[in-house]
Amino acid sequence: MRVAATSSISALICVLAVLPATNAASAAEPTKLTIFAAGTLAVPFREVDALFEKKYQGVKVQPQFGGSVKMAKQITELHQDADLLAVADYSVIPKYMFAQPAHAAWYVGFARNAITFVYTDKSKGAKDINGKNWYTVLAQKGVEIGRSNPDTDPSGYQTVQMLNLANTFYNDAKIEDAVLANAPLSNVRDTETSLISALQLGQLDYLAIYRSDALQHHLKFIEMPNKIDLSDPAQSAYYQQGVAHTKNGDLKGKPIVYAITMVTGSKNADMAEKYVAFLLGPEGQAVMKKNGFGEFKPAYAVNSNAMPASLQTLVEPWPGQ
């Protein structure tokens, strides 16, 4: 009697022990790839993710979007797990992720953007504004201009750098102040959501934002001279003349280059590597171009020798970094 009981109990235990293993084998849990990315990458990255998942079966991409600095700090200060970080200003990665203890060792640029002003039909001066007279229209009394917070957001300080460059470009030292007078602190916001909503509701006439956003949200925008809109890496030296005074110090203008890196200690390094390659490859680049981002070719990288071997072949060392 007792022997029968113990043997049936042990049989039950064996079955229960094996069950999870068999379950795992048959269920084939998808690999979750977590990406923290700048808000302006939301639309293109969702497309990239969909294509990536189609190419690599068994992968589920889970992106989270927010301000570039906020997403970096979620990794460095809040210790959230992420496999990749993509930012709107490449300097965010070395500034926050390279500091000890390092959360990243390298980064590669994968797209460009330009700072511009977007507007709607309702905006004051909408009929007359163009790439030549924009600063006079924007300086008119009663025009409300919105912009992002220069103390926390790249597009915020890039806007100020652009206006500062305009002073030099148009040889008129009053341009920056005149335009900023219509973009006071009360028009500064931290998120794009409120700024774009405010523009669409008529609270703002113009909004300083990236060209990719203009195209994505189907908003009119101004074609600015590329010597001031931070879109051309070839103009890097010129851009340095544009300075933004922020609570983080004086920031010199740099071309707007989006960069991505793999987060150190990620558990899905393999997949993350494939993602970066995909993004730098023809499919990824086509999506970025389609969404209004500029091409960044060749793909410059910093600390390329720290990159996985397969990725090193795709990049070139970043001159001057």
């Binding site: 926390t152 009360s186 509701l201």
Partner: protein, 278 residues
Amino acid sequence: MANRAQHGWWRSAAPSHPTTVFLLLWLLGSLLLAFVLIPLLVLAGTPSLSGLIDAARMPDVRDSILLSLEAACLSAILTALFGVPLAYVLARTRFVGRGIISAIVDLPLAVPHTVAGIALLMVFGRQGILGEPLQALAGLKFWGTLAGVVVAMMFVSAPYTVNAARVGFEGVDLQLEKIARTLGLGPWRTFWKITLPLARRGIFTGMMLTFARSISEFGAVVILVYYPKTAPVEIYELFLRVNLQQAVAAAVLLLAVSLGLFVLLRFVAHNPDLRESR
């Protein structure tokens, strides 16, 4: 008062319940208390004293806390001004749409904060149906102003005042109001001298909740107003701009000020001689 049993230092208002039942209730309650208290204690324990003093020294932090307090105060007062009459009507009258009105009052609690902010911007913005005339007639702006902060706070925290005040009014014996009328007090004097004082506790609780909820609001406020910065916005910016430590230090400062204020207000308002008629 006569049915309060005294078991030494522990007075139970329900002596009819056996001790085991009461202990179980205490246990469940303590778990919730711990759930609330532990994260707050961990937060409070994180910054060093010097960190707190540094945060208190920063004019931005001080200004943001003062702004939050000022705006929350206005929010509580204005909400009471309009919400208490509504609560009275809901408590005392029966009409066809009463259930719907009650549900509407509760709606702001279910609206995501960002959505609430955008809805308010639609109405109170430069081209909004209320914003435009108010700006033209009274020069009143809600974008980037104290008024905008107050409006966002009021929207998300109004339900608390209305609901608590309503319970307060429902607890006032209708007979007392009738008697006041027969003594020669008109409807208005009856409300002022009898109903309102007896509903004081409920109204006060509601205002406290509105005040507290107003201080903590971020999502709706930040759509309408970033500058001037309320405390939650300042704390958020400290996190982004500097680091977690500074943000937490400012947060603990805000919590300490709020806690002190709540304790003070409750102490001042608590009147042990007040007994509500049943």
